[in-house]
Amino acid sequence: MGFGQFLAAPEIKLKIVTYRDVFQNTAQETSRFGEDYEKLSAVIKLDPKDMVKLSIKEGETVVVKNAFGKVVVTAQSSGHEEAHQGIAYMVNGPWSNALVPDETGGTGVPKFKDFEATVQGSKGEKVTGIRDIF
């Protein structure tokens, strides 16, 4: 057992952009309560440099939170995307929607593709289940 467990895991503030994924969408058609849907939805894509800052590895879970909500999701390193330090990508779904602010400036349109949240290693917490998001 090292000192690590006594130190707070580093936390960084990131901008989040949501996107669509055909595999997640397919899983949603089959079942919103299935394992596949969770596996493909409860994910955040991070820039490799941000992962270093968070001292986490691909596949570990992170806590993503802001004033509107909090979810534990799996961290993934981005694939073919260009470097995007300071920006994270989350697939559109209940997990990202748990974090989208209710602020609209009276326009009726929330900022689904542009909001902020802090990300922190979770030290092994389990991904938030769909029924527990609420």
């Binding site: 055909v22 919103r32 995307e81 602010p101 009276g106 929330p110």
Partner: protein, 416 residues
């Protein structure tokens, strides 16, 4: 001869689908994308008919739903993107009868674009025109490879068309403008991918207008001037251009003015059309139906006495929930607890809630009444409007005991 069916997995409404049926179930789906296959085979957890969490007969659930809606002063009727046009019209009639708020997903996605098209403010064309004629295709804030998987293969990039016999290899140029290197951006190629910063779309449009007007294009984020000039050269030479507008662009623009300016400029120097990348299969149908009835495409509250439609941001589903101005809700073919920010939708769980859907979803888990309906395009037929405004006829493929959403809405209305 083969029988072709329509896929309702997205607003492309692909109408070249063949199926094999085994024991009154769609067993194999041919030609659809993976999302379409999953849609047409149906979900693994169908919704049950319940009242207050207990299993109920459909008749009981319908009477309870009618009771909730007649007791409410300001009910909300929301969803509609996954319903036939016939069901949508029933829903509008029900909203009128109950003095309800009525809205759909377009209220927080493609609404402004569809509205501009219906008001003739933007030049548009059909997907068939795109297949046969388009040589320059811009995906702006759109990633059809994920959202509309057959867009590129059926219409916009890969196919041979009447005037595009050499397809993507020689006859078509795909351009992606996005904040993220999407799968569609990869297909467009590095050379034709323009990565802009978040919120940088309006400026990029202005810069393109400058370039197309022979001026030096400038952006506050210092986008490579040479690349913008080169892009404007490609757009100028287009014989038939199309901009496929995705949510990334819609959310980034505070107003549509920069888009109007760009479209006007493009049509001075060449020929450009615009198509909204509508998600749910009949969102556009709802916009057309409500527009016909009220002159507004979404965000309506009917006055209970006069039946007049009030329209504005305050009548939008998001503001109505934020302001807690509704006291009951009927959700059709939608799962707002998943698809809206939870900070907004959470309120739904505090009011009497009715869900009509073929499949179990999060909103159903918090509903007072849940009524399962037939799956549109598979267990029930009807009409729908494709993303480009073309009406598509859907045939029923298999029989079911379940009522269609149209029938359920008719019966609720009759019971009030």
């Amino acid at each position: 001869m083969s029988e072709y069916y329509v896929c309702t997995g997205c607003a492309l409404l692909c109408d070249d689908i063949e199926v094999d049926i085994e024991g009154n179930k769609v067993a194999t789906v041919h030609a659809a994308c993976r999302k379409g296959v999953a849609r047409m085979k149906g979900c693994s957890d169908p919704m049950e008919c319940t009242v207050d969490g207990e299993k109920a007969e459909v008749d009981t659930a319908i009477s309870k739903a009618a009771e909730i809606l007649s007791d409410a002063k300001n009910p909300l009727i929301f969803g509609h993107g996954n319903s036939s046009s016939e069901a949508q019209k029933r829903s509008i009639a029900l909203a009128k009868k109950t003095g309800a708020y009525i809205d759909d997903t377009s209220s927080f996605c493609q609404g402004p674009i569809v509205e501009a098209i219906l008001q003739d403010k933007i030049k548009t064309c059909t997907l068939d025109d795109v297949r046969h004629k388009a040589d320059v295709i811009i995906f702006w804030g759109a990633d059809p490879s994920n959202s509309h998987p057959r867009h590129l293969s059926r219409y916009s990039y890969f196919p041979r068309g009447k005037e595009r016999q050499r397809g993507w290899e020689e006859d078509r140029t795909a351009i992606t403008i996005d904040v993220r290197k999407s799968d569609t951006a990869v297909i467009s190629g590095d050379n034709r991918f323009y990565q802009i910063p978040m919120g940088g779309d309006a400026e990029f449009m202005d810069a393109l207008v400058s370039a197309l007007s022979g001026k030096v294009p400038k952006t506050s984020y210092g986008f490579d001037v040479k690349r913008i000039l080169e892009l404007s050269g490609v757009l100028k030479k287009a014989k038939f251009g199309v901009i496929c507008v995705g949510l990334g662009l819609v959310y980034s623009l505070e107003e549509l003015e920069p888009l109007f300016k760009l479209m006007n400029k493009l049509n001075e120097v060449s020929d450009f059309n615009l198509i909204p990348m509508v998600g749910q299969y009949n969102m556009r149908g709802f916009n057309h139906d409500l527009f016909e009835e009220t002159g507004y495409i979404n965000r309506v509250k009917f006055n209970p006495e006069t039946g007049e439609a009030e329209h504005g941001a305050e009548q939008s589903v998001v503001e109505a929930l934020r302001n807690r101005s509704v006291d009951a809700a009927l959700i059709i073919g939608s799962d707002p607890l998943s698809s809206l920010p939870l900070s907004v939708s959470r309120y739904l769980a505090e009011i009497p809630l009715i869900t009509i859907d073929p499949c179990q979803n999060l909103t159903a888990t918090r509903s007072t009444v849940t009524i399962p309906c037939a799956l549109g395009g598979v267990e029930a037929g009807g009409t729908a409007i494709r993303m480009d405004g073309v009406e598509i006829e859907m045939k029923k493929i298999v029989d079911t005991d379940k009522l269609s959403d149209e029938e359920i809405l008719t019966r609720i209305t009759e019971a009030i």
